[in-house]
Amino acid sequence: MNILVVIGEVAYDGTQGKILFLVELLRQYGYDPMLLCWTDRVAQAAQAHGFPLLRITPQEQPAVDAVAEAKQVAELLTGRIDGGDTPSWARLLAFDDFIGSVQAWGLSSLGGYKPDVIIKSVPGGESSTPQDEQVELALHRFATWNRIPRIGVEVQRLDGPLSISRWPVDVLLTKQVYPSWTGLSPALQQTAQLRPAHRHYCRYGMDQMLEGFLPQEKELRERLSLPPDKAVFFMPFHLYYTEECRRLLRSAWESLGKSRQQNDVHLAVSVGNGTRRSLSERDIFMQGCKREWQPWGAVQVLENADTMAMLLLSDAVLLPYHMAVLEDMCRKWEVPLWTLQRETHRLLPWATPIDAIEACRAAVQDAAATPAERETA
């Protein structure tokens, strides 16, 4: 599968270059992404990482008959004239504003490279550069006209007053849950929140622990047998607090509500070396909290797990007692934290860029399938 990752100037600067980790992550999971860029700085950084690179140079725009294009746009928008108080969009948009904004430079081909999926940052209406805008528009046309699915990644904030322009993507991966996502396009089937650690790729600011962790994420996940495609809920168990653990597991499961249908959850519990009579902490948890963990489907018990590593690999933490370090780090890395005092969180489905690619792959296969094949499927 050909995955084109587009890195513009704004996305690169807005993340201090960390957006390149995204390419690294895809490589960890066995994909072979191609990086598309148009500035020296991004190209040099990509080469330093050894990423395959497709370099383009936005050109002077070719001559285009803007009036002919405007005629078509006017026809397209004429349906908006309803004689009521709705603006006549054909008149408002298809004349001066359209003709004055036409940008015809396009990506007719990418040097023979045919992407199956495009991953790009979503412009949030903040500052941009003329070159970024030129490529953004050319890519928009290229992807729309060639029906290539787009995965949009949030770098700039997406809750400004402009909502139309952030939707020409098929899957949107956000850094945060916004209080209101009104008017989602029916064509945009999936909006998901990036995993807490992955949000760091899309942020300004450096964090040594995260940057050290991200390149070895896959290896760590495999070593701890944590499924990469499930939302991991991590709970550090302590036998002093068995009753609190039970209450927390019960209330978290209830408060997850709809979210637990949207997310395939995986419960991971760490236990220590403590014993009571003949029972180990593992036994105490498995037997003492059985009624509470059973609804979660299954539980993975980890002995003496590294708490910080678990935190980085988790999508949410259940904390049945006070633990200042963990609480502080949850706040810092924005990992949702369930405690007995605060039991509800508003959650979107979690997703990794890998999940998004797989969703796109399924969509592409579905679109390519004949009706009979779809029926069989």
Partner: protein, 398 residues
């Protein structure tokens, strides 16, 4: 009796110039005149003639505008995911314009409701502000007049809808033909004339001359002034080679860009001339109009690079007009026989030819061209009179 009130929509500076003589004439007839302008990234209000203007965003209602935006957003989201011409426009730009359309739509209604003008005036109703004004003026039964903004040489389709809500008062028969070809009803297009072209290019103005010579270097004195008008700043550098050798000539070129030229683009292009040692001067975008018109009066010839209303303004002076064609030029005045083509030779040589080959044939065609385009070169009073007579009965078609 309630005072009569004309509300006029002002856009870029070179358009304001066409409205102001008519506003003055209306004011002399006892009317109040209120100007308003709109938010176009500060470009319009920064060139308003004074601070006494109404500001459209002051009449905005953000909640209503957001509601209108949300109502229309799903439709545009779907369009963005389909293959159509809108994809020639950056989605963020499209989005921003849609939001502005919603704000201005509501604000224009509020402006007219609050100010209750007797009549409204604009240069045309083809941009979004003109459409807004026309629609709400129609709904509120306020007569709406539009004036001509320049030579109409584009594709006739551009002018469709020019008289949806307004009566347009144009300069000459040529424009009337074009508007009718674009589907405008003949009774809504009236030929009256240009407000003040004769005053601009024919009437001496010592203050304008002073303003011009204050801006020209000493080296220009004693030389033959040539007015070079550039329709698009971004192509200017392409012609730098043609300008070589001018320093040793008797000519002094004054290059003037179109008013809407991009300043940084212009400065970039001007570098090509500096390195060629061309003896010329860039008349900046900050020149007052009085200096611009003085240059038209005092220059001996005009070289037009591209296509512009300047061809008509210059033709009114009757002096030689040269033309250098550019790509995608909508009208070629050399092909029409009213300008001499200066292509294919150095400009110095071309200018010599322009003076020697500017025959009576050119002069006659130029006069015919002006007569067809401008019925009257000093029609501000007539235009004002027409607006007033057309506004006597509220709600009537003007």
């Amino acid at each position: 009796m309630k005072p009569r009130k004309l509300l006029s929509l002002h856009g870029p500076a070179h358009h304001q110039q066409l409205l102001m003589p008519v506003e003055d004439a209306v004011r002399r007839r006892g009317w109040d005149v209120f100007r308003y302008t709109v938010d176009a990234e500060a470009t319009f209000q920064s060139t308003m003639p004074d601070d006494r203007y109404l500001w459209l965003p002051d009449y905005a209602d953000e909640n209503a505008a957001q509601a209108l935006y949300r109502k229309n957003a799903p439709y545009f989201r779907e369009l963005l995911l389909q293959r159509n011409g809108l994809s020639l426009m950056l989605p963020q730009v499209l989005d921003r314009i849609i939001l502005f359309c919603c704000r201005e739509w509501i604000a224009t209604r509020n402006l007219l409701t609050a100010e209750q003008p007797t009549a409204v005036l604009a240069l045309h109703e083809l941009n979004r502000w003109g459409v807004d004004l026309g629609y709400w003026a129609h709904r509120l039964k306020i007569p709406y007049f539009t004036l001509q903004e320049g030579l109409y040489y584009g594709d006739p389709w551009i002018y469709t809808g020019h008289t949806t809500y307004s009566t347009t008062l144009c300069w000459g028969a040529a424009t009337k033909r074009i508007l009718e070809k674009a589907g405008c009803p003949p009774e809504r297009v009236e030929v009256i004339g240009h407000p003040d072209l004769d005053q601009r290019v024919l009437t001496p103005d010592p203050r304008g001359s002073d303003a011009l010579w204050e801006r020209l270097p000493e080296a220009a004195r004693g030389k033959r002034l040539i007015f070079v008008f550039v329709a698009h700043a971004r192509i200017l550098g392409d012609f730098a080679r043609a300008f070589e050798g001018m320093a040793e000539s008797d000519y002094f070129l004054v290059l003037r860009p179109h008013q809407l030229a991009n300043l940084s683009e212009l400065e970039n292009q001007a570098k090509a001339f500096d390195s060629n040692g061309v003896w010329s001067h860039f008349g900046g975008l900050d020149w007052p109009y009085s200096a611009h018109w003085a240059l038209m009066r005092e220059a001996e010839a005009c070289v037009l690079i591209g296509c512009s209303t300047t061809a008509l303004e210059w033709s009114r002076t009757g002096k030689p007009l040269g033309q250098i064609a550019t790509p995608l030029m909508a009208r070629n005045f050399a092909e029409d026989g009213i300008a001499l083509s200066l292509e294919g030779k150095p400009l110095r040589e071309g200018l010599d030819c322009l003076f020697t080959e500017w025959t009576d044939g050119y002069k006659q065609r130029q006069q015919d061209f002006v007569r067809d385009e401008i019925a009257n070169g000093s029609a501000a009073e007539l235009l004002a009179e027409r607006i007033i007579t057309g506004s006597r009965k509220k709600g009537a078609r003007p």
